[in-house]
């Protein structure tokens, strides 16, 4: 019962937020929080629930971002048409990367995902057709409403809110389905799960593909809001790191963990950037680094786990066995 009260309070606040705090800065901030919450929630499916710490999720983010901008820049279509293309691209890539990479456990998986992401970034940076280092731009002047190019952040806010709700519903549905039980079993002990007949490889791959699809949607929305994508903003490893940190700060493997993490870190970054200007960019990541170190050291389950009482997630979550 208490859970439902909390949920309705949060939902009411989320709907009323841009009307209550209506300055352009605040509305933009709200939209960004939701956007990162979508990406972090998508990461949470494979990183939190399945316990496979992907540090290369930006690859899928980039698929969405480049597909959205590409459909405008290359074919003159609305960036919206890029979303399904981005999803197909991301899911296909996830299947190709996932089959050999998900066999690796622990740190090995994380390192392989970094290498994949960096390889993709280097390839795109050197591909003329994808705009190389300059990237691709969206419509500067919207031709019609389907270009989704607005001056105000308000339409983006509600669009992102809707996508976030869908993402959370998908995650919730997944955790309460058979797949969710398999994933938890795999995270706690893959060997035990396998010996009891859980199809570990297939389940992990499905989780990876689902997570990739949702991450690519986040990437497409990001590119639409900013109106462009380049190798740094669409495929830079720092995007992966931000996504991962938000989920971990709030609580990896908890439904609302990523939202909590995004609601803390995005305002922190935006405020420090606007106060400190260019110098702030470096300082922001110093603070980010310090926060992660402290979380890892003192509260590895994330902030939300303070309330759910699950202070330490399973100790043996694939702790670095040889692949």
């Amino acid at each position: 019962m208490r859970r439902w009260i909390w949920l309705s309070v949060v939902a009411a606040f989320a709907i009323a937020y841009p009307l209550l705090l209506s300055s352009p800065f605040q509305q933009r901030l709200g939209a960004l929080v939701l956007l990162y919450a979508i990406a972090a929630s998508a990461w949470n499916i494979v990183g939190g629930y399945a316990g496979q710490v992907s540090v290369g999720h930006v690859v899928f983010f980039g698929c969405g971002a480049y597909a959205a901008m590409g459909s405008y820049a290359k074919f003159g279509l609305s960036p919206l048409f890029g979303i399904p293309g981005g999803i197909v691209l991301a899911v296909g890539l996830a299947a190709i990367i996932g089959v050999p990479t998900l066999r690796l456990s622990g740190h090995y998986f994380s390192m392989a995902t970094i290498a994949v992401a960096e390889t993709m970034r280097l390839i795109v940076t050197n591909t003329e057709w994808l705009g190389a280092a300059v990237g691709l731009s969206g419509p500067t002047v919207p031709r019609n409403i389907f270009d989704l190019s607005f001056l105000s952040s308000l339409p983006y806010y509600y669009l992102f809110l809707a996508v976030l709700v869908i993402t959370l519903l998908v995650t919730w549905w997944m955790t309460s389905s058979r797949m969710g039980f398999y994933l938890r079993a795999i995270r706690d002990s893959e060997r035990a799960a396998r010996s009891l007949g859980a199809p570990a490889s297939r389940t992990k791959l499905y989780a990876y593909m689902l997570s990739a699809a949702l991450t690519s949607v986040a990437g497409a929305l990001y590119a639409m809001m900013f109106g462009f994508v380049d190798p740094e903003s669409g495929l830079g490893i720092l995007i992966s790191v931000k996504i991962l940190i938000m989920a971990a700060l709030g609580g990896a493997g908890l439904l609302f963990g990523p939202l909590v993490g995004a609601a803390i870190l995005v305002p922190l970054e935006e405020v420090s950037n606007s106060w400190l200007g260019g110098k702030g960019a470096g300082l922001t990541f110093v603070v980010y680094g310090a926060i992660i170190v402290l979380i890892a050291r003192f509260q590895p389950g994330g902030l939300l786990s303070l309330f759910t009482g699950r202070s330490k997630p399973n100790k043996d979550a694939g702790a670095g066995h040889a692949p």
Binding site: L122, P313, A319
Partner: protein, 287 residues
């Protein structure tokens, strides 16, 4: 074989020896405690900046910069072990990855904040000029880096295999409880391993600072090079890291020369992925 090709290979070997030096630090802590230091490349970056500061403040070359960078980084390694690693080692894997990743961001952007994002470099003539052997031209700074790195890596291998300290460290790597029963303190041994590993990165950083570009984000690339080297050489094997480091140096130089400079990183990353996928035990097995 043309002279240019030989020149490229020799250059690759010299750089590869430095790769081997800092990678043997990574492989040591990895093999001993099964923890991956995602901040390893940033340790090398710090070593480069220590050498740079020594030069700008005191006008000192590598004779002063290299020992100082080794000392500073070794101290940092021990501090990091006691303040962070000792605790996250017992935690879940997510905490281990986050802990060292957070450390990487903290170091990288502290330097970024202090020195800015500009590319810095040491003066060309800080170490001798260029030597010519039988038509080959080798810069003194690269020769110094390669030779010192090679000797120190070999020294590290001897330290691990021929001294009682090395045996104690290997005992802790094998079985902590059994080592403890023999009167060895795992905590002390692991702290020493972190000191040695970080010291090696400091020395490597100071050595390449003389001819490499110095920038806060250089640790990202060097960190991946270290992962590649360790995975190629086998986790926990110093001789493996040496062979793999030299090999990667040569592959990188050759692909830079034959295919184009922009593709040399791609070649190394793809090689890394292929090894992880098809031969995760590396070229030379385990410690």
């Amino acid at each position: 074989m043309s002279f240019v090709l030989v020149q490229v290979i020799v250059g690759g070997l010299l750089l590869g020896a430095v790769y081997a030096l800092f990678s043997s630090g990574l492989t040591l802590v990895w093999g001993m405690m099964n923890i991956v230091n995602f901040a390893h490349g940033d340790f090398v970056m710090l070593g480069m900046y220590v050498a740079y500061v020594v030069y700008t403040l005191m006008g000192g070359g590598p004779i002063l910069g290299a020992p100082l960078a080794t000392l500073v980084l070794a101290t940092l390694g021990v501090v990091v072990y006691f303040a962070l690693i000792r605790d996250i080692m017992k935690g879940p894997m997510l905490a281990q990855i986050l802990g060292t990743f957070g450390l990487a961001l903290l170091l990288r952007y502290s330097v970024f904040w202090w020195f800015g994002a500009n590319f810095l470099s040491m003066p060309q003539d800080i170490v001798g000029g260029t030597y010519a052997f039988a038509g080959l031209r080798i810069e003194a700074s690269r020769l110094l880096a390669g030779v010192v790195a090679l000797l120190v890596t070999l020294g590290l291998h001897l330290l691990l295999t021929r001294t009682s300290l090395g045996s104690k460290m290997l005992a802790v790597a094998e079985d902590q409880t059994a080592a403890q029963l023999m009167g060895i303190r795992p905590d002390t041994m692991q702290a020493i391993a972190w000191g040695i590993a970080a010291g090696a990165t400091g020395l490597a950083g100071a050595l390449i600072a003389n001819f490499f570009y110095i920038v806060p984000t250089v640790g990202e690339t060097l960190g991946i090079v270290a992962f590649v080297t360790v995975s190629l050489g086998g986790f926990g094997s110093v001789p493996g890291a040496l062979v793999a480091g030299l090999l990667i140096g040569v592959i990188e130089s050759l692909s830079g020369y034959l295919i184009g400079a922009i593709y040399k990183d791609i070649v190394v990353y793809v090689l890394f992925l292929l090894f992880l996928w098809f031969r995760p035990q590396g070229l030379m097995g385990k410690m």
